[in-house]
Every structure is written in structure tokens, then in C-alpha cells.
Amino acid sequence: MTAVIIIIGVLILIAVLMYNSLIGKKNQVENIFAGVDAVLKKRFDLIPNLVASVERYMEHEKSTLEKVTALRAEAMKPGISNDQKIALDAKLTAALGSITVAMEAYPDLKANENVMHLQRSLNEIEEQISAARRAYNQSVTDLNNAIEMFPTNLMAGWMNLSRRAVFEITVAERQNVNVSHLFSRP
């Protein structure tokens, strides 16, 4: 009889530990996502300024600038899901990257102190975003591992936890900058 009680006790203990570790991982993901959100917001605040200052110079990049503004507006909408935010962030990063590359072709822009200042703060925020993304990806990997590995997968199935998406490096980020393309610009 006592043996049965001990076995049941141990099983309950294991279940509690598994449950708590899963909750801990889930909360960690949410906690770090809040951090990601904060740095993304910092970048959103910078975008209108940047667009306003470079608009006059960058005639050829009008469509990209408009795209950036539109993406920002979309990402700022209340009530969008985390996965949507991640997807929008990837697009925005790519668009901002192409603006940065295009700026090289405008000597007037590089002489403008205000623009250079914005550019440098953008770079600094970009580094913070990259750090936040890496932290988020690690916490998501921990959670996803727990959701898929035995025996925590049984508990996770019962708790209705599902896999989360990680930030992926966009194709545009992975590509090297095409230097010859830069020089052949009008």
C-alpha cells in the first residue's frame, strides 16, 4: 500500500515539475517578446523622421519609402498577433536595408548631419533588435524542444501549448550587397 502511495506521489511530483517548467518556458518567451516589442517600437518611432528627412533627396526610392511607411502603420495596429509582428518585422528590416544601401548613392544625403544622425541611431537600434531576436529565438527553441520532446510533449499536448515561430533572417539580409549595382546607379 505504502509503495503505491509513494509511486503516485512521485508521479504527481514529476507532473508538477513538468507543468511548471513548461509554464516557465512559455512565460520566458512572452517576456522576451515584450523586450523585442520594445526595441521594435523604438525603430517605429524613428521611421517617420527618417522618411521625412530623406524623401526630398531620394526621388528614385519613393516606392520603397512608401512601403516602409505602410509597413510601419500596419505593424503599429493594435491587436495583431506575435507571428504577424514577426513577419512584418522581417519585411520592414528588408525595406530599411534597401534604403540604407540606396543612400550610399546620394552624396547630398551623406553630407546631411541630421540624416547621418538618424542613420547611426538606426544602426544602433538595429543591433539591439538583432540581440533581442536572438534571445527570442533561443527561448522559443527551448519551448519548442520541450513541446516536442518526450515526456514533456504529453504534458504540453494536454496544456494545449503549440510551437512558436522564430525570427528568420530574410533573404534580402542574407544576400551580399551588390557593389557593381551600386556604382552603376545614375
Binding site: G35, V36, Q128, S130, N137
Partner: protein, 321 residues
């Protein structure tokens, strides 16, 4: 900053007259030491013989005499080499540091403050005795840096009430301004657990280390193999430890080949290199003109001061300019 080969040239060319004089002193000290040492051994042997006859070889008095002789020998050694060591630091180490950067300050008797050592959070144990020497302070490329030899010890009492001293850390300790702003604490330690128990059990052991902040797993497998990282902010830890920074720390670890402890606290980087010995001390039993010996002085100084360039601490973010 001058390269290692330029500094080696400086050592052999500019410092040659001083080295030659010091070499004479060294030779004299060695012959004196041999003479005293020989005499000491004879006296000790006679005393032991006499005592062995009268009290037996394992008498407590025998122990006391042995300890007395060892103490006397070390005091004599220190007394005889003291002046030579001071001369060496004034005439070799000081100009060598001046050659690396003329604005660096050097004080052979001073050490980096205990407050900075404790602030680093690298060693969680309380410290009962803190000493050090060879303090260097200055700025390289606008980045403030200071370092010195440090010997930190703690005390324990065994069941019989005898106190024992244990070394917590002995080696080089360096503090430099970091090029990014941060508010959190991040501590990087040599990875013992994963090396001895493998990544699964070792990783689990690391994660339940209660005396540290949360374990931070980083996305560089090579770095993870050599180091374990604890911190209280997973995002800032990755902001500090960018991929390039992890690579540079790994390269530095390969260069120093001693246990490397690094922490980022209070907008500063703290680096402790566990050499286990006192650096910048003059060689007594090998020649100062010996190439290996010379390279040790030059390399230690060059690598330590060169850390600012190595880790690119001088490439400041615009907001820190």
C-alpha cells in the same frame, strides 16, 4: 600601438645597457644564493643528524626545525632579490610600458582596487586577503583601461580550528570601458561542466547553479564549448555578445592559454586571466637576455594592453562618443 616585433627590438636594443647591468647583479645573486644555499643545507643536515640521534627523526621538534629552515630560506631569498626586482621594474618594465604607450602610468607597488575586483562578479566567494602589484592605468585610443596582478584569497577553518588559506584567484585582472551602454550583468566563465560531463548533463548542471543569475545559451557552438554565460538580461547579454564579440573572445582565449573569466558590469568589461603566478617579476635563474624570457614580458604586456584593439573596445557607438 607598437607590434610585438618592434617591442622585442626595443627590449634588445634600447634596454640592452640596463639589461647588461641587471644581468651582472643577477649572476652575483645566483652565486650568493648558491653559497648560502649550500651552507644552509650543510647546517640543516648536521642539525638533523644531531637531533635524529637524540630525539628520533619524527620528533615534533624536527618538524619545527624544518619549517624554520624553509621560512629562513624564503626570507633570505626575498631579501636578496628585493633590490634586484625593484631595479628590474624601474629599468625594464617601466620603459617597456612607456614604449607601448607613453601616456600609460605604471606603479610597481600598487594594485587595482578591491572594489573593482568584487564588482566584476566573477568570483562569488568572500575575500579575506587581497593583494597585488604592478598596476598600469591609462587610456588606449580614448578607452580607459587599468590592470594589475591580483592575488585574492579566502580563509577556512578545519575541525581542529586551524586556519587555512586558499587562493580564489591569482593572475592578471583588467578593467576597461566598454563601447556599448548596458544596465545588466553578464558573466562569462570557463566551461568546466560541459567539458567534463558532456553538453546534456553539463548543460543541466549549469542551469541549476543557484549562486549565479540565469544561464544564457548562445548561438555560437564553438563559444558555448569553451565558456558558460550567466546574466540577468538575456537580450542585453546578446547585445553585448554579438557574433563578432564572441569570435574575438574565443581568439583571445586561444592566445592567452590560461583560464579566462570575463564579465560585463556597470558599462565596463572586467577580464581575469588565471595565470596562477606573479607576472612582471624578474627571472633569477634564467638570463634576462634569454629570448623566451624576453618574449614573456613583451607578450604579456602587448596582449594585455592590446586587448582594447583586439576586442575593438575603441570602436565606440556614436552615442558613447
Amino acid at each position: 600601438m607598437k607590434s610585438t616585433s618592434e617591442l622585442t627590438d626595443f627590449y634588445y636594443k634600447e634596454l640592452y645597457p640596463s639589461l647588461k647591468e641587471l644581468e651582472e647583479t643577477r649572476k652575483r645573486i645566483v652565486s650568493q644564493l648558491q653559497w648560502y644555499g649550500g651552507m644552509g643545507i650543510v647546517v640543516f643536515a648536521l642539525a638533523a643528524l644531531w637531533m635524529g640521534k637524540n630525539f628520533g627523526l619524527f620528533h615534533p621538534l624536527m618538524m619545527a626545525v624544518t619549517i624554520g629552515f624553509v621560512a629562513l630560506a624564503s626570507i633570505t631569498y626575498r631579501f636578496m632579490t628585493q633590490g634586484y626586482a625593484r631595479d628590474f621594474k624601474a629599468r625594464v618594465i617601466t620603459p617597456l610600458i612607456g614604449a607601448i604607450d607613453p601616456l600609460l602610468l605604471y606603479n610597481p607597488d600598487f594594485m587595482i582596487s578591491r572594489y573593482l575586483f568584487e564588482r566584476s562578479n566573477l568570483f562569488n566567494h568572500s575575500i579575506d586577503r587581497y593583494s597585488g602589484n604592478d598596476y598600469v592605468k591609462g587610456s588606449i585610443d580614448g578607452t580607459a583601461i587599468e590592470f594589475s596582478d591580483v592575488h585574492a584569497e579566502y580563509q577556512t577553518r578545519d575541525s581542529k580550528g586551524r586556519t587555512q588559506w586558499h587562493t580564489l584567484f591569482r593572475g592578471l585582472f583588467l578593467v576597461a570601458e566598454f563601447n556599448k551602454h548596458f544596465k545588466s550583468k553578464t558573466v562569462i566563465l570557463p566551461d568546466q561542466a560541459e567539458k567534463s560531463f558532456g553538453s546534456l548533463i553539463g548543460g543541466w548542471l549549469q542551469s541549476i547553479n543557484f549562486s549565479r543569475d540565469d544561464l544564457i545559451r548562445l548561438d555560437d557552438p564553438e563559444f558555448e564549448k569553451h565558456f558558460v554565460v550567466y546574466g540577468n538580461d538575456p537580450i542585453e547579454a546578446r547585445y553585448i555578445l554579438s557574433h563578432s564579440m564572441m569570435k574575438r573572445l574565443l581568439d583571445f582565449q586561444k592566445k592567452v592559454s590560461h583560464p579566462l573569466f570575463v564579465s560585463f558590469v556597470h558599462n565596463h568589461i572586467h577580464v581575469a586571466i588565471g595565470t596562477g603566478k606573479d607576472l612582471f617579476e624578474p627571472a633569477v635563474f634564467t638570463s634576462l637576455l634569454d629570448y623566451k624570457q624576453a618574449m614573456e614580458y613583451v607578450n604579456t604586456l602587448r596582449n594585455t594592453i592590446g586587448l582594447v584593439e583586439e576586442l575593438k573596445l575603441n570602436e565606440k557607438l556614436w552615442s558613447k562618443e
